[in-house]
Symmetry: C2
Subunit: 341 residues, 2 copies
């Protein structure tokens, strides 16, 4: 660990898991430091699986899932564990094919809930065309598990000729958001009884394969990511940092449902940091942006929007507000919303 | 869930994780029931990864790791998470190549401990010739995590011409154990401060690749498994059930260290049910057994032993005791030793 990082704490805090600075540091300074080699790309959603199989290219990704409550309007930890990993392959330009599944079950979990969640997982697998090839279960002591933690590893076939990545992003490119942001985060917040709120909001949890299919038709597509932990703001920070440029989001062009805005106002969250589980943030060449957007609108994503631009400038994320002002969207430090994806 | 199973409980108990009957039932009745298809072989250590890559055959396996304490004499949860998955590929006749890694960290974990465990994992990867290609970390709330849970998925290349499996086991075959059993389980028990015991016992946690390399030289090799959860007795039950035969173990031929025997006597455990993390139980043709054993002895495994036989008869596991009597080794029901692998 270097002198200027992580010295504020010698213990893991919830903020180490929020997708922001502390998490990035611990990944770089512990995991990548010890396990790092060419293939461990900590900034990628999925990486090449170097099987030496000739023309085929296979990709691999992995993700862990902890959400409280385990079931929420629009999904559950099981469908999330399938869609999350499928989506990481989809935004990397791969066609998801296989999953492995790890299950950590807390002693005392209602077996009926486990059954519902696994059934939901099976439906999600069928929807996405993936199969679980290998699995393992562990039972942990009561009070040491949060009900159910899942981890999935996904393997998919890279579509030929696709070259996506932050290395392709340039100032002048446009940022497209495929639909309203923060639905998942807000729905999970509402589903927590302790807030005493109720609403009709549903998580957007789902497969982004149809979105990726549309966008991959445009050679001007540079990069896609599903804005899960840390939301659109955090993906924007990854772009800004990797490209060395400013990401400017336009408040009125980032779709946010009124219900999500209300929940955020009441509970003090910022929708740009709330997780989505079925949306894509894409960066496209300015010349392709309008056509790509029209294709999304025609393809069943009427709320997709060109939400911002990549601009030459310091690596930061700026929100142009509806009132014409500017607001810096800082990198996450404290935890705004633990345990929602 | 059928009428005659699992009705004794509607909630998950620790026994659902011990490798015995309840765990088998929940895997069959929930996971395989919903997610099952040809490829989900719940009885295999690793399965074929159907990549359509022509002559190459790739295999995949996955495993979760929870151990208390996180560090113990001879290993830690990190080395365990590498060796456990590497070993599942090794006993399936594959050469391990790649891992994915999921990390669930409990809020409050000492970052120095995390660093040591990840460094240990990196050493184990280097020893076994595997690389971590993809990883993910999640932080869970204090009191919901047991310190650190890990899950690894492993991909390896199947050695050409190898055909191993329970389908090849026949009455008359011999059971070889590669070394003393129960060291891991006993060492972890001792490492738990609450027992107030101390000893020089070290876990056997390590790679079984060298053992597999030797045994794979014998065409009479039928089947290999690393006896982790539930120990040698539980592997014997899997064999007995799948083959429809009796597994007869000979007490004086199953190597158990005196220290392990003492720990078991004091704490009331049976060494045949304690986990090993660096041993192999192999079934070989009777004609090949003596040569295979000699090769193990020459190859650096002087304590390997022909520990029993497969016999025509009811599917059960019998221990012929040193006094000449017989003792049934039942399938695990209650949890003899949670959280050690």
């Amino acid at each position: 660990m270097t002198d200027d990082t992580c010295r504020d704490t010698a213990r893991i805090s919830l903020a180490h898991g929020n997708g922001g600075r502390l998490m990035r540091e611990i990944i770089e300074e512990i995991f990548a430091f010890h396990l790092g080699q060419q293939e461990l790309d900590t900034a990628a959603d999925a990486v090449r699986l170097p099987l030496d199989t000739g023309s085929d290219e296979w990709m691999i990704t992995t993700d862990g899932f902890t959400v409280e409550p385990l079931e929420f309007p629009g999904g559950d930890v099981g469908s999330l564990a399938v869609h999350g990993t499928v989506n990481d392959l989809a935004v990397s330009g791969a066609v998801p094919r296989f999953l492995s599944l790890n299950v950590f079950i807390e002693e005392g979990l209602d077996i009926a809930i486990l059954g519902r969640i696994v059934a939901s997982m099976a439906r999600a697998c069928a929807d996405c065309g993936v199969r679980v090839l290998a699995g393992d279960t562990k039972v942990v002591r009561r009070g040491q598990g949060g009900g159910l933690y899942l981890a999935t590893t996904g393997i998919g076939r890279r579509r030929p000729g696709v070259d996506l990545g932050l290395h392709r992003v340039r100032p002048g490119d446009r940022v497209i958001v495929s639909g309203p942001v923060g639905d998942h985060g807000a729905a999970v917040l509402l589903a927590r009884e302790q807030f005493g709120l109720s609403g009709n909001l549903r998580s957007d949890a789902g497969s982004v394969l149809p979105i990726a299919d549309i966008l991959l038709g445009f050679p001007g597509l540079r990069f896609m990511r599903d804005p899960t932990r840390g939301g659109v703001a955090t993906v924007s920070h990854e772009i800004a940092r990797a490209v060395g440029a400013t990401v400017r989001l336009i408040e009125r062009d980032v779709p946010v449902r009124p219900e999500v805005r209300s929940v955020c106002e009441i509970l003090g969250y910022d929708p740009y940091y709330l997780a989505c589980e079925g949306r894509v943030v894409a960066v496209v060449d300015a010349a392709a942006a309008t056509d790509a957007l029209a294709a999304l609108h025609r393809g069943g994503f009427p709320e997709a929007s060109i939400a911002g631009t990549i601009e030459a400038g310091a690596p930061r994320v700026v929100l142009k507000t509806s009132l014409g002002g500017e607001r810096i969207l800082p990198e996450l430090e404290d935890d705004p919303l633990p345990r929602i994806c």
